[in-house]
Amino acid sequence: MKHGLLIIMMLFPLVILAQEKNEAVTEVTPKQKGKITGRVMGDDGQPMEGAIVSVSVVGNNNPDAWHLINADDEGNFIVSDLAPAAYTVFAESTAFVSPAVNSENKYYHLGDTVNFTLVKGGVITGQVTNTQGEPVIAAPLAIIRVRDAEGRKVNEQGWFSRPRKTDDRGMYRVFGLRAGKYLVLAGGKRAAGWGPQNSYDTDTGSYYPAGNRDSAIEVSVSLGEEINGINIRYRSEKGYSINGKVIGGPIGNLLAFGGISIILQSHPGHSTEMSSYIMPTDPTRSFSFYGVADGEYDLVANAGGGWGVEEKDSFFSAPRRIIIKGGNVANIELHLSPTSSVEGKVELAVSPEKEVKTECKSARTSIPAELVIGLRRDTGGKDDEPKPQNEMPVDVPDEKSEFKLKYLEAGHYHPNIVLPDETWYVKSILIKAPTPKSPAEKISAMTDAGKLGINLKAGEKLKDVTITVIDGAAGISGKITGEKNQALPPRLRVHLLPADKELAEDLLRYGEVKTKADRAFAFANLAPGKYWLLLRNVEESEAEEKPAPPAAWDAKLRQQLRREAEAANNLVELKACQRVNDYVLKLK
């Protein structure tokens, strides 16, 4: 449906450092409104009348950004009168799920048609009884997805949106589950989530079949399948407490920040175990957790940055590792510090006619409003980092082509620019150096964020990032074949590398894409130039929902890629606007 777009997102934006002349910055054209349409169907071919469709502008700074509508009796929906922008579109119907893997958001634009097929989710039922065999009543259930349908580990997700509890017979029923493997937890604050106090809040809770997490058995469920008899023998075990206070952050009451949230994440796994909340008017700023089981955790605090709360600034704390081993933990201090942000603008450059012919020019009139500016965090390959509090910072440029990515933690980031069609590529991402403190200090012109990424310090408000997008992008697509009768590995990844040695460190010119069953691959939005293509295996443990960070981010891996690519020597030269189709990439 949106093949091109999907691939662009796997790519890092590509760049050529400025050498062309005669570029003209395009005028901002009057914005024409448009619509996004689509249809929501069940896998039985019946329209999903009443399904909720959410169409929202990427980022959160547009007051007119969000539309919620229901599909009509034929499953159709239309959202009209939309301003040009990049949109995310979701469809949801209770007890049904979308079978598509959504590890990456897809973006849509005016005129797009978005079709959804929803499938009845899995169901898990069972009974919770105590050690005397009596039903455990009104115990909350947490259903934690730990593996995908193929059994690979995924980012753990708990069941928070629709709390389920046991009834007066101790019976529970959880539905609308995606295919995969789950842990089922009864009781405990984790299962309770938000809500009024409950008898089981201070217990650690019991996992299926009867105890702590180490003895938990994963329950496998497929779409449309009902798994019965997941009965839990509930052991009322008191957990331990963690208490402490939050230091620093905004002065006075926190009404404008909506209070402070404290989140206890498991370690590893980093799913939210419990959350606590300090009221805006609580001058002590103290927090406590009860019913915490033995184990390792990361504790983080944040104030502001929440949806629907208008704050002047927002604050995070650095994660604090907590180890619970047979006792309470007290007097933990979490220090709030201001979050970082990245601000800048998008500049549109147009190549001269002699280089980029009219037929190659974009038909869209609303660039750059339809661009998505995002950042991806580079943890240096560490998989056990606490989950960032703003997992996917994205924004769309405003009327002045300016963007702002907020609520960022300190760390290393790579820009991730998603372009609305295949005529454009990212030419450069430059950060203007701060004004020199003394005349003697040498003025370094620009930092090349496209190459190096962005190193963000705690509380840093980085300004003057200029993203230059230019037309004349090239593209290449093709298919992977093996030798005659050779069985291809089930999953392969195609890497794209700049062949020019001078561009070896330019991350914007690297790309990678995982192939699907059809063995096809495609790269779009490429800067003209020479590239190598390289085929590699995908690690068996890598889940589709949890792709490994791009290999080129790591300096050593990058060199290794280059050595392999040079040896394989699948060299292509792409001219401006050139589209190479049907490229045959042979597995050797």
Partner: protein
């Protein structure tokens, strides 16, 4: 589906806003204890979790203590300081009496120093169960649809049964369309699913399909609804409802303009609600907002509306200079376009709040949480569109904007619900304005002075009921009103605890009138005879504690 989830959260925050800002209080250590027994008749109930929190209204679970009943159904909390407490047994499948309206039944207890308080017992009955299946016109299960219960009262009136149904997904159908409600008090119930007609209820933001309200047994006409009788510990099975065709929903679009200049107002929040008929006039019933704001052209859009009469208005927020009356529109069988909400630039009032008398660290800390609110009377009907009052500045100054003109009144409240201050008087340019003042269109009123005080006086009391018993489910409350002050400003109230005790704190020395109001059952109009049983007593309060006993005679003819 992140965005969908966020949406739900916003609604939740609005609904539970009051709870969120109620300050939890720490449980302080001391030498007193509370104990009791939980039983069904003579049979003890072991393993029932009981939580205890400090303060008359309790707190949240973060600052509560928990224990479980032993094999004999007994529980005990020891090491407690003298204070007010609230006890909440978590026994969803059981029914017992609560002394206040809440999702969780509970009991208040006022504990003295070195007191071993015993026999704070909970007498429970096993609640009834109701279960059934909800299907649509085609016989397909209707998923995640909320079943509503109404109880037929002794006087024939109906009242909505809430119980634990709101917080707990109890009463919501599963993927098979099946619901199961338990812990129901014995009674006669009307069961229905779908949107009510003209009852002023509205689901803001809307989700999924709207069905016309359908009663058990699958009838749309309320008069044809059948009563479902629930008795102690019984199960009412197959209370199935087949719904009619789902209702089409429509959209309303409009804009908010400055009524004077005609200019659109962008970036302002808007709200909407269902209009209800009250006698010969129509007013907003339930209303709310989704946090959405008008776009750059002042336009807004409301979706998910089924046919009915609605009102859309500018939702004033802190710092907003405008207010509006609801613009009324009717949705019949199509979208509504071109709605115009006329917003007026409101009046402003600024001034200062000052503490009369000594300032203690406690009062200083609480002072920071004070907010000044404004109420206006129009045609003798008080309107108060929800608006979180801005807190005063650290120096006590305040500035209110966007106020609707009329006979205005100011008041103070604490954003954390723990107000220890009472208003002594309010003045402007030496003139007493405590009882209100005229606010004209666009007036900019400055120099308002609100003098507040807080004392260390305490009235501690005991209520005795003679000549009868308080009806089941009824509540009693005590309030204190300061006499002989410039304007008789009322202050302080207390709820009776399990032993009929009450405590009213932070009183400024002076003469007070204590009132014990007759028992009332929430949702029921008390009889005039009952109303006359109100007991009052004058009390002189100094800087310490005063003990009072109030006796109410419930015998006939008194």
């Amino acid at each position: 589906m992140n965005s969908v989830l966020h949406f739900t959260l916003v609604i939740l925050l609005m609904v539970t806003g009051a709870t969120i800002f109620a300050q939890p209080r720490d449980i302080r250590p001391g030498n007193s204890s509370i104990s009791g027994r939980v039983a069904v008749g003579d049979k003890p109930l072991p393993g029932i979790s009981i939580s205890l929190s400090a303060g008359q209204f309790g707190g949240n679970s973060q600052k509560s203590m928990n224990t479980k009943t032993d094999a004999a159904g007994r529980y005990k909390f020891s090491g407690l300081a003298a204070d007010s407490y609230r006890l909440v047994p978590n026994a969803m499948a059981y029914v017992f009496e609560s002394d206040r309206m809440s999702n969780q039944p509970s009991k208040a207890v006022i504990l003295g120093e070195n007191e071993a308080l015993e026999n704070i017992d909970f007498s429970m009955t096993r609640g009834g169960v109701m279960t059934g299946k909800i299907t649509d016109a085609d016989g397909h299960p209707v998923i995640e649809q909320r079943v509503q219960l109404e109880v037929k009262q002794a006087n024939g009136q109906k009242s909505r049964y809430i119980g634990a149904m709101n917080f707990f997904q109890m009463g919501v159908t599963d993927d098979r369309g099946i619901y199961r409600i338990f812990g129901l008090p014995a009674g006669k119930y009307f069961v229905s699913v779908g949107d009510g007609k003209n009852n002023g209820s509205i689901s803001i933001g809307g989700n999924s399909k709207h069905y016309p309200q359908t009663f058990y047994p699958s009838v749309e006409n309320e008069a044809d609804a059948q009563i479902v009788e629930v008795t102690e510990g019984s199960e009412a099975l197959d209370i199935n409802i087949r719904l009619g065709k789902s209702k089409q929903t429509y959209e309303a679009r409009g804009r908010i303009i400055d009524a004077t200049t005609g200019q659109p107002l962008s970036g302002v929040e808007f709200g909407y609600g269902a209009m209800v008929k009250m006698g010969d006039r129509t007013r907003l019933g339930a209303y709310g907002n989704t946090g959405e704001r008008t776009n750059v052209k002042g336009e807004f859009r409301i979706s998910g509306l089924s046919s009915g009469t609605y009102g859309a208005f500018l939702q004033p927020d802190e710092g907003s200079e405008y207010y509006s009356e609801p613009a009324i529109f009717e949705i019949a069988d199509s979208d509504f376009n071109g709605l115009e909400v006329n917003a007026q630039r409101g009046a402003s009032i600024s001034g200062v709040v000052v503490i009369d008398g000594a300032v203690t660290p406690t009062s200083q800390a609480q002072f920071r949480n004070l907010g000044v609110f404004y109420n206006v009377q129009i045609n003798n009907a008080s309107t108060s569109m929800f608006r979180q009052p801005p807190t005063i500045n650290p120096d006590g100054t305040f500035h209110l904007k966007g106020l609707q003109p009329g006979k205005g009144m100011l008041g103070i409240q604490s954003v954390n619900g723990n107000n220890i201050f009472s208003v002594l008087r309010m003045e402007k340019d030496g003139v007493d304005i405590t009882r209100g003042f005229d606010v004209t269109t666009g007036a900019q009123i400055t120099g308002v002075k609100i003098i507040v005080g807080s004392g260390s006086g305490i009235i501690r009391g005991q209520v005795n009921i003679v000549g009868g018993t308080v009806p089941s489910g009824a509540r009693l409350g005590v309030s204190a009103r300061r006499l002989n002050s410039a304007n008789n400003m009322g202050f302080g109230g207390g709820q009776l605890d399990a032993r009929g005790r009450f405590v009213i704190e932070n009183l400024i020395p002076g003469e007070y009138e204590l009132s014990l109001n007759p028992p009332f059952v929430p949702g029921q109009q008390p009889s005039p005879a009952m109303m006359r049983k109100r007991v009052t007593q004058n009390v002189t309060v100094g800087n310490g504690e005063v003990s009072v006993t109030l006796t109410m005679d419930l015998s006939e003819g008194k």
